[in-house]
Symmetry: C2
Subunit: 350 residues, 2 copies
DNA sequence: AATACTATGTGTAACGTATTACCAGTTCAC
DNA sequence: GTGAACTGGTAATACGTTACACATAGTATT
């Protein structure tokens, strides 16, 4: 374990001089001194101890990222893009799976704080952010990702999200436009801000055009306690089985995200329903799997890459400027991607 | 930002006493002292600085995890399980996406090392581990996951993997057993130990039973430079299009992992081929999506949960015992999961 | 009454780096 | 030839925590 002292001894200079070399203050010394130090560094395979450095400087170039579950390709992909972007800014990312549980989120936040991390990207997460108050007060900068910021802006340094409500309305409008009148809704437990908004959007649009949303067709993660996103597809499959065996089944279903939609596709086929002839399915997120499903999934797209770049840039700016940034709360426009899982309802059954 | 000194001052005791409280040495002090210190801690919202702690102790309860890509559900799910398991041992996990690039892996390893992390789980990764030598020499404990350990055991503290070769042979035997004689192989670039072993296994089994493996039917990630796993499904789709438009197309394809297989399913359907009637597709890994595909995917299962538990336990043990652990190199048995994407070849075309 | 022991705390030196103040030469203008 | 400015470098201290040796007082034992 070579330390800066060993390097100094070997090069015959003081530790401060070595420190100057490491930190690029080359102007402060003679050329031969510089060379001797550099030689010593490489022969000893010396790497500065980031821990000691941080303790001294109080700085650490690491961001926290709290997501519901990297097992869900949407978040897996988001994590990857965010990490890449952070790396481009010279930051590392510590990824945490919080499973949408407030206590787990709070525990991670405290742990990140105690590691010196002062910037965190919070993905999805529950409606109330009370559990984060303590850390926020102590100076943790929090950036929200994929959630609305109603009433919690004082806790947040910035936020990036799509307009969930209008996304859900686009989906609803698409289905209604095709002629559907019996529309189902499939989701896991409605605990996060984004899920609430999506359901609200669906409700609002259907109300506006005068289509009833039958409570019987709302499937909200029954028996799903403790299930993570890796089970989302399975839940979607169970859901569609229950909905399609009702006396008056839906002709179309809106799924809270693409994973549920993928499960719904699978379940519908098992029951002998053809998609989209007998049943239309629409998802949300546009994960990369949506286009390779059969049939390819109609869905609402989130501009993931742009959102990730923005959230990283904003958060780092907030960290540098001590919170004073322009335009901290951004809502992007989602987009309807029509593929082949939606069509007009089957007249025989309608 | 309250430190231990502030707590000590407020409670009217020395920093040592506060340290004792924090570290659970409650027997060393009077009851009222304990209470006063605890009060001070909570009113000041004091959280011990993990960095300073680590500097002192040289210990950090964090593991590094280097994976090809969390966007691939196999690795996303693995990351999640590993993280959960590590947490149960009181460790955090720092997840890094290395995209199968040796330089990126080396950079992450150095960065992890300088953060005081001394235990890393290395997922998949290139054949040669020369790029990791430097860190390994300095005392980094490396656990290999999902790769063979031929000739690199001195670099590794432990390893957990399935027997890739026998997994691939099981797949080949299954296809041959169904009567297939023209078998294709779809993969991205063959750069990692696990991919090499899978191809070797396929070759060995086919040679054994006297079925030719036509080079024309080997699709190895053409034009795939820089593509990550989120594109694997798309690559699978391109691959199947190329293979099925040959003069003498395959009747079955073996895909390097389930993501490619999912893409192959999609591509085959687009071309009008039915799976499994016209084409059999077999994958590898058994990600949770395999069973909700249509048709559900026949695949080779890796016992992910068990493997994850083992690798975490072994690595932590290696860290604690300074490398001396029993049975460090474990190969688990993969299992053939027969679903509905494989069947006997269509006699019309055979 | 002297000794030993227990319970309860305290003081301080690390840990490895960055920063600050400082010092010894050299050069140079006047 | 004298002091200011500059160059190349040193030494001391701080960062927040822990570990360990030591201090103090009260109580029990001989």
């Amino acid at each position: 374990m070579a330390g800066i002292k060993d390097v100094a001894k070997m090069a015959g200079v003081s530790v401060s001089t070595v420190s100057n070399v490491i930190n690029g203050r080359h102007g402060k010394m003679g050329h031969d001194t510089l060379c001797r130090v550099q030689d010593a560094i490489s022969t000893l395979k010396y790497v500065p101890n980031a821990v000691a450095r941080q303790l001294q400087s109080g700085q650490i170039r690491t961001l926290g990222l709290i997501v519901p579950s990297v097992a869900n390709p949407f978040w897996g992909n988001a994590s990857q893009v965010i990490e890449k972007e952070a790396k481009a800014h010279g930051y590392q990312v510590l990824i945490c799976n919080a499973e949408r549980d407030p206590d787990t989120e709070a525990a991670y936040l405290e742990s990140l704080y105690s590691s010196g991390i002062r910037g965190v990207i919070l993905g999805s997460s529950p409606v109330s952010l009370d559990h984060l108050q303590k850390q926020a007060e102590k100076g943790m900068r929090i950036a929200a990702f994929d959630r609305n910021t109603q009433g919690i802006q004082q806790l947040l340094s910035c936020s990036i999200s799509i307009d969930q409500i209008s996304g859900a309305r686009m989906a609803a409008r698409h289905l209604v436009g095709l002629g559907h009148k019996r529309i189902g809704f499939i989701s896991g437990p409605i605990g996060t801000s984004s899920r609430i908004a999506r359901l609200d959007g669906l409700r609002a649009e259907l109300a506006k055009v005068g289509v009833e949303l039958d409570d019987e067709l709302l499937w909200l993660g029954r028996n799903a306690s403790g299930f993570g996103d890796s089970q989302a597809a399975e839940l979607g499959r169970s859901a569609i089985r229950e909905l399609m065996t009702l006396n008056n089944p839906p002709t179309a279903v809106f799924c809270i995200n693409d994973m549920y939609a993928i499960g719904a596709l699978s379940g519908a086929r098992e029951l002998g329903y053809r998609v989209p002839e007998d049943l239309s399915v629409i998802g949300f997120d546009d994960i990369y799997l949506a286009k390779v499903m059969s049939p390819p999934l109609t869905t609402i797209q989130q501009p993931l890459e742009q959102m990730s770049k923005l959230v990283v840039a904003k958060l780092i700016e907030a960290l540098r400027t001590d919170g004073a940034i322009d335009d901290p709360y951004i809502e992007m426009r989602p987009e309807l991607i029509v593929r082949s899982s939606t069509a007009a309802p089957n007249p025989r059954k309608a």
